[in-house]
């Protein structure tokens, strides 16, 4: 059951994402193409079908009504709608997909589905009435619940739509209706089919593909399941068998030959309904094969795997990499000359490297999903704020580790909102007066550079007024030195301090006081760096530098006393020997050294971590100049042991009780000889050292 739910969530989420992209694209063109309409119809149909199977009636209802709406649109053509209708339709669609998404989220969080969906459904229905005009409104509303209204009056025949019944010579056919809401009608129908087969009753049935296609559910729910036994005797036998089955509500037997003759009589009575029915029944049946035909070739080469499996794969690959170097660098064979062994180990190393690359690439997903969401945010805010903004997306196929994609989604969203809300000028006139094009532009881009992904959000709005920022920071007591001494870069980094918000008013979208500092924290939690550049009047640009993966880092092994530490290579700028004379003491006795015309504090790891070591003289050890985010300083260590690619392992949960994360340690790794090396978190390490002195 869990597995089914997972599949359901995956499928529904994918469909909703598709739908969102489609709607955004369509809205840009201000029109739906016939393809779009068919696609939406298909998506809604699938959601409806699978929701019904899972017995999520809320989702099913909404999808059902949207499906009806698009059915109408498809039948009547898009030209029947005028422009205002179309924009209404876009809003309605966004609103209802939001509703669907909210419900799916509830499922994911194990919350009960909301029962109050009447407003959405009323909206959809009233829109349908509007576009179909007053006259057709009755038909429109009856289309949503056709079988319930009509089935009882026309028991003897025509609504069953004999035209879809299998061709052939049989005297009677049986219509089976299942109980309302019993779920999985197709499987129940299939059970009937098997039962009849077991009894050797020759027959044909419609829909025929109940076992394989879950899309038949809707048809069976609405129109019933049809069984056409070959002989009159078989009919009686079949009816007896069917009645033994659970959840069967009604079993009706109809004369096959008579049906067409009876039809005209009832048709006159409810001509409109019949027309609806006739066209609705193939519609309900046909999209399924069409859909599976179109999506099958694309889907076959893709499988979905749960993230936890990938995680354990990564863990095992990590172990193999470590074990490989344990074997090849085993001290027992160090001084032996083993030609063929060396050859094999080289081969093994190459293979493990390949294996590692492939395992890593499995976790890589394009950022396009996250970027596409921004489309939606820009669209919504555009409407609310009445600003004309265009979102340009570049490099959306850039791939990043799945866990990183998840954690940067919120920061990017926040930055985009900030740009929309504060960055872009409030009126078009202001833009034109500043000599800019009337339509503002936000560029969201992603690029690869070696081991990092750079994501930037750039707008061509007002830019940031540094003097205002400075004033505000001063008012909030965030300045640590005289305001005249702040450089442009430093002023902009003030924005990311906790408790800073440039906008006086709190708006719906941004500026709740939990602004950029949270963004910064999120980005740093995945090992990223955030920076802001801005030019007054020209616009601003926020850049995120994110490592491609968290699982494996290039590290420099260093030793302090008996302990071994790993410093991520990405944080190291330089390592050098220092002479005693170059060390300067500041007022409180802290050591400072000058590199490249700037002064940097020295952090002695052996002092910080209370490690006994013989190397305490600054000239005996080595200094490593490290940098992380906006912190730059020098670490004093005993010696460098060498560079190594290491697999990051989290520290045991027991230790996190001691706030181990805040003591400058990000994790640990197992070295080739089985020893453990502790990976240092350069940014936190500095904060720890500041607190200690």
């Amino acid at each position: 059951m869990d597995n089914m739910l997972e599949m359901y969530l995956y499928e529904t989420n994918t469909l909703l994402e598709q739908l969102d992209e489609l709607l955004i694209e369509a809205e840009k063109n201000e029109d739906f193409t016939t393809n779009d309409v068919n696609e939406i119809f298909r998506i809604m149909h699938t959601i409806k079908g699978s929701s019904a199977m899972m017995e999520f009636s809320t989702l099913m209802e909404i999808a059902h009504h949207i499906e009806d709406l698009f059915f109408y649109i498809r039948e009547n053509g898009l030209d029947a709608m005028d422009k205002s209708h179309k924009s209404d339709l876009f809003n309605l669609m966004f609103q209802s997909t939001d509703m669907l998404r909210k419900e799916v989220e509830k499922l994911e969080n194990n919350e009960p589905l909301s029962n109050n969906i009447d407003s959405v459904i009323t909206d959809i229905n009233s829109f349908l009435e509007k576009i179909s005009g007053k006259g057709a409104s009755a038909a429109g509303s009856s289309a949503s619940a056709p079988s319930a209204d009509t089935a009882s009056d026309t028991v003897s025949g025509s609504t069953s739509g004999p035209d879809f019944l299998p061709q052939g010579d049989y005297p009677q056919y049986i219509k089976v209706m299942f109980e309302d809401g019993c779920g999985m009608e197709n499987l129940r129908a299939f059970m009937l089919v098997t039962a009849l087969h077991d009894m050797d009753v020759p027959f044909v049935c419609y829909p025929a593909d109940v076992e394989s296609s879950s899309d038949t559910i809707d048809f069976i729910q609405e129109h019933g399941f049809y069984i056409c036994p070959a002989t009159a005797e078989a009919v009686d036998a079949a009816v007896a068998i069917i009645k033994e089955n659970n959840n069967v509500e009604t079993v009706e037997v109809f004369e096959h030959q008579k049906a067409p003759e009876q039809a005209p009589a009832t048709q006159t009575a409810s001509a409109e309904t019949v027309h609806k029915q006739a066209s609705a029944s193939p519609a309900a049946g046909s999209p399924a094969p069409a859909a599976s035909a179109s999506s099958a070739p694309a889907k076959q080469s893709l499988i979905s795997v749960s993230l936890s499996k990938l995680d354990s794969l990564m863990a095992i690959v990590g172990e193999i990499v470590i074990t490989e170097s344990m074997v090849t660098s085993s001290p027992e064979i160090q001084n032996l000359k083993l030609d063929s062994f060396l050859k094999s180990t080289r081969q093994l190393r190459k293979l493990t490297d390949d294996l590692q690359d492939i395992a890593m690439s499995l976790r890589m997903v394009p950022v396009s999903g996250t970027f596409q969401k921004m489309n939606r945010i820009v669209r919504d805010m555009k409407k609310k704020l009445n600003k004309d903004v265009r979102l340009t997306i570049e490099g959306e196929n850039t791939e990043v580790d799945k866990s990183i994609v998840d954690s940067i989604s919120d920061p990017i969203m926040h930055i985009v909102r900030n740009s929309m809300d504060h960055g872009i000028e409030p009126t078009t006139e202001e833009r034109i007066a500043a000599g800019k094009p009337a339509q503002a532009e936000i560029i969201l881009s992603a690029t690869h550079t070696g081991s990092e992904v750079i994501i930037s959000v750039k707008d061509d709005g007002r830019g940031m007024d540094t003097s205002k920022i400075l004033q505000k920071a001063e008012r909030n007591g965030l300045l640590t030195k005289p305001s005249t001494e702040y450089s442009q870069k430093e002023i902009l980094s003030l924005l990311m301090l906790p408790g800073f918000s440039t906008n006086e008013e709190v708006t719906e979208f941004s500026g709740r006081g939990v602004g950029m500092d949270v963004v910064k924290k999120n980005v740093e939690s995945v090992g990223g760096v955030i920076s802001i550049t801005s030019e007054l009047g020209k616009g601003s640009c926020t850049t995120l530098k994110i490592p491609l993966t968290l699982a494996i880092v290039d590290g420099m092994e260093i030793s302090v006393g008996d302990s071994i530490f790993t410093i991520p290579i990405a944080n190291i700028r330089q390592s050098f020997k220092a002479s005693k004379e170059s060390i300067i003491l500041d007022a409180s006795g802290n050591e400072i050294i000058k590199c490249m015309d700037e002064f940097y504090p020295i952090v002695r790891i052996h002092n910080l971590y209370n490690i006994e070591t013989e190397i305490t003289n600054i000239e005996d050890g080595i200094l490593i100049w490290v940098e992380s985010s906006d912190k730059s300083y020098c670490l004093f260590v005993d010696e460098l042991l060498g560079e190594q690619q290491v697999v990051v392992k989290p520290l045991p949960a027991y230790l996190s009780n001691f706030n181990i994360k805040d003591s400058g340690i990000s994790g640990c790794t197992i070295l080739g000889d089985g020893n453990i090396s502790i990976i240092l978190d350069i940014l936190n390490l500095y904060l720890v050292s500041q607190n200690q002195y």
Partner: protein, 155 residues
């Protein structure tokens, strides 16, 4: 160890409330912990120290690719530490999915204890990590380690 257990099980019929306890020595006390929580006993393992944690947390070890934190039970109970010798052992425990290694002076044996016989610790001699005691023969007393308390951390 498990094969030995099944042998005993098949020959002797124990009361339902009987549980197996691994007993170990720490600072002259005999302490027992239910074998349900014991994963294995290891000796002579290199411990990697972790900075900026309370003294009783000796560090972490690499046990076949798993990282396991190690605490010294003497220091945890507020006793003086001693140098580790050949008989010093690490008992690896799994308490509610928390892996934890405890350093003890020496491991003694596995005994079957009728849980109904365990009495509470008198308040005047109350110890933080002990939640019960039982007197065995030969004037010896067995104390029981409070595994829940052990898995929690206090500063």
């Amino acid at each position: 160890m498990s094969t030995a257990n099944t042998e005993i099980d098949s020959t002797v019929d124990f009361p339902v409330s009987t549980e197996r306890f691994l007993t170990f020595m720490s600072d002259g006390l005999t302490i027992g912990i239910s074998t349900n929580y014991v994963t294995e006993i290891i000796t002579n393992h290199a411990i990697t120290m972790i900075p900026l944690v309370p003294g009783y947390v000796k560090g972490i070890i690499n046990l076949r690719g798993q990282i396991i934190p190690i605490i010294d039970i003497r220091l945890r109970m507020g006793k003086a530490s001693i140098d580790y010798t050949d008989v010093t052992c690490i008992i690896v425990l799994n308490i509610n999915d928390t892996n934890l290694g405890i350093i003890v002076d020496s491991v003694q044996q596995v005994v079957d204890i009728d849980k109904a016989q365990i009495s509470a610790v008198p308040t005047e001699s109350h110890q933080e990590l002990i939640n019960g005691m039982i007197s065995l023969s030969e004037h010896s007393v067995l104390l029981f380690l409070d595994h829940e308390q052990l898995a929690k951390t206090i500063f």
